[in-house]
Symmetry: C2
Subunit: 366 residues, 2 copies
């Protein structure tokens, strides 16, 4: 696992290790099960960006660094205000990051730009949400840490501590996952020596896709459609008959249960209403049973979307913010990968094979 | 070269074939040397998107399709007006494409979204330019074809026919180049089932990098610094001594001269002032000589940036628009690759190898 002495190749990363066979996920060598026990997103930001877990003093400094960068630059506020109010938050997020002129002017991006991105993004998403519901923006509260302040700026009221803690754990668990499609797009953009605003807006575009981060709200739509525990079996059987996709199951990397899903199940149980959790649990049990019957050769497990959606709902976030909230958690990983990509300076070599028509002539008497 | 019967892999493409050993570049099987003889960008758009060269009737229909979609949607105009006037056009281009809500709402993108993107983008770039110089925007002229209308909207006057023809040839030659870094980013974004606004803003972020499309203005800065033919040798020798990069030479794919560079040299000669062309030619001759001496094992050739920059200057475009103009030409290729990616539906598998620290524990008495 340790770095060899050969020069780095594109795709080499020392940030997150994903072992899909054993279901092990580590950030900088630490297992997520350890990191999530004393969740503080700021410390995980430090771990991902700087490579070491901060001590108490370091954690305080990181929290202050992020707190001091929460405000949106004036020009970003103007672009935000120019967007139609019904712009989906995930699209507004991408457009406003692209409009961060200060980040767009620094080549290559440094830790400063990375911290600015992480710190500002919750203000941006909350601002887009407030605009969409016709409410005034809510100022950041310097008394609150990163995740608690995000909830405050969305909801306009102090969330009960268990909800804040649940969301903080979600942020920790979703903060990085190796070179996913969004991170891949980000690293390709940076490999041409472009900037962080360009790279992160590319990542947001990829994360939006339902095969990446765009599926969590569908999990709840599905549970709503089922309605009650007594309907679970018949609903799932009829959905599978209609070849309808069951959201929240299966992952291309994991051959066992995704370790984040295991943790999110417990954290969701702590905050969801008993009825909601019972419905989700019943749905999960029947879905896994039916999927195992249907696909005995390629087992599907509960993925991060399933209880992630139940948790985000219980925390009080509206469904339109599920994908943007995933993206907010991931800004830490994106910033870390951006710095790693810049330090490696490796150009990507895209795969390419021409499979089109052979040489043909035109305009020469043809 | 023909498509086999096996399912397509990510990276399979039937659009452009790049043969770096022989210096052959074909679009849908037609050599660029043939296509550029009767340049009409609209026909090349049809060839790239639809796979066949349109006849006269088809070319007229394509031109009308593009002409009818030139106007910017109202919300894009509002975002454009919200950007600081000194926003670099390449950044404003990315932000405003991201703000194209109609394109952002269609999954998967179709030919309609592709044509809208190609048709609108010149209005966007010209609008950003006019704003940056403090002038009012210039309305599209329905009498003019795609490329001529772009020049009109930037300059506010009719360009002499040789200049329009030179720019049209530039658009044809730059309209696609296989899976470059920008196209790769675009295809990754679409592989998650995201939308065209997301995918093209990602592509624009990658194209901005100086290793991709961001270098052409530097070619002219270099020629300006040299000043005159008599200074070429001493300037280049001293630049190489200072390990300064010579812009406009070398390409990772080509082991012979890039066929686009060969053509652009001729086209630039037709429109550049004799003095400018003489300086460029002298610079090229000395640079190739010195580079061959320095790197006998890995020959460097004149690339598309070198005479591309001389041509764009002669056409009358300001340097700040060189990279955005390259991007405008490439919108055709991006739209074609978007449709191909969507049709293939192949997910990308990012390269990944963990090279960080091994398992370490934390928080368990450590």
């Amino acid at each position: 696992m340790a770095a060899g002495s050969e020069p780095p190749e594109f795709g080499d990363t020392a940030i997150t290790s994903v072992d899909g066979r054993q279901g092990l996920l580590t950030y900088r060598g630490y297992r997520i099960e350890d990191l999530v026990r004393q969740p503080q997103y700021e410390s995980v930001v430090g771990l991902l960006l700087d490579g070491t877990l901060p001590d108490t003093v370091g954690a305080g400094r990181l929290a202050a660094e992020l707190r001091n960068r929460r405000n949106l630059p004036e020009e970003v506020g103007r672009v935000l205000a120019a967007l139609p109010p019904d712009t989906p938050a995930v699209d507004g997020f991408r457009t406003c990051v692209s409009a961060m002129n200060d980040l767009a002017r620094v080549f290559p991006p440094t830790r400063v730009e990375g911290m600015s991105l992480i710190a500002r993004s919750p203000s941006l998403v909350a601002g887009l949400y407030r605009r969409s519901v016709g409410g005034p923006p809510i100022e950041p509260d310097p008394e609150l840490d990163h995740v608690a302040n995000y909830l405050w700026m969305v909801m306009g009221e102090r969330a009960p501590p268990p909800r804040t803690r649940a969301l903080e754990r979600y942020f920790v668990l979703l903060s990085d996952h190796g070179i996913s499609a969004s991170t891949f797009a980000l690293r390709i953009v940076l490999s041409t020596r472009s900037d962080l605003a360009s790279a992160v807006s590319a990542a947001l575009g990829a994360l939006k896709g339902p095969l990446h981060g765009g599926a969590p709200p569908e999990v709840l739509d599905m549970l709503d459609a089922v309605g009650s525990v007594s309907q679970v079996e018949s609903w799932i059987d009829s959905a599978l008959e209609r070849k309808q996709r069951l959201f929240g199951f299966g992952h291309p990397t994991y051959q066992v249960e995704d370790p984040r899903a295991t943790l999110l199940r417990d954290f969701a149980r702590e905050v969801a209403t008993p009825a909601r959790y019972a419905l989700a649990e019943s749905f999960e049990r029947v879905a896994l049973d039916r999927l195992a019957q249907r696909y005995p050769q390629s087992p599907r497990f509960t993925n991060v979307d399933f209880y992630g959606a139940v948790l985000l709902e219980a925390v009080g976030l509206p469904r339109t913010l599920f994908t943007p909230t995933f993206a907010l958690a991931r800004t830490a990983g994106w910033a870390a990968h951006a710095l790693e990509q810049v330090a490696q300076g490796r150009l990507v070599r895209p795969p390419e094979r021409y499979v089109g028509p052979g040489p043909r002539t035109w305009g020469r008497g043809a």
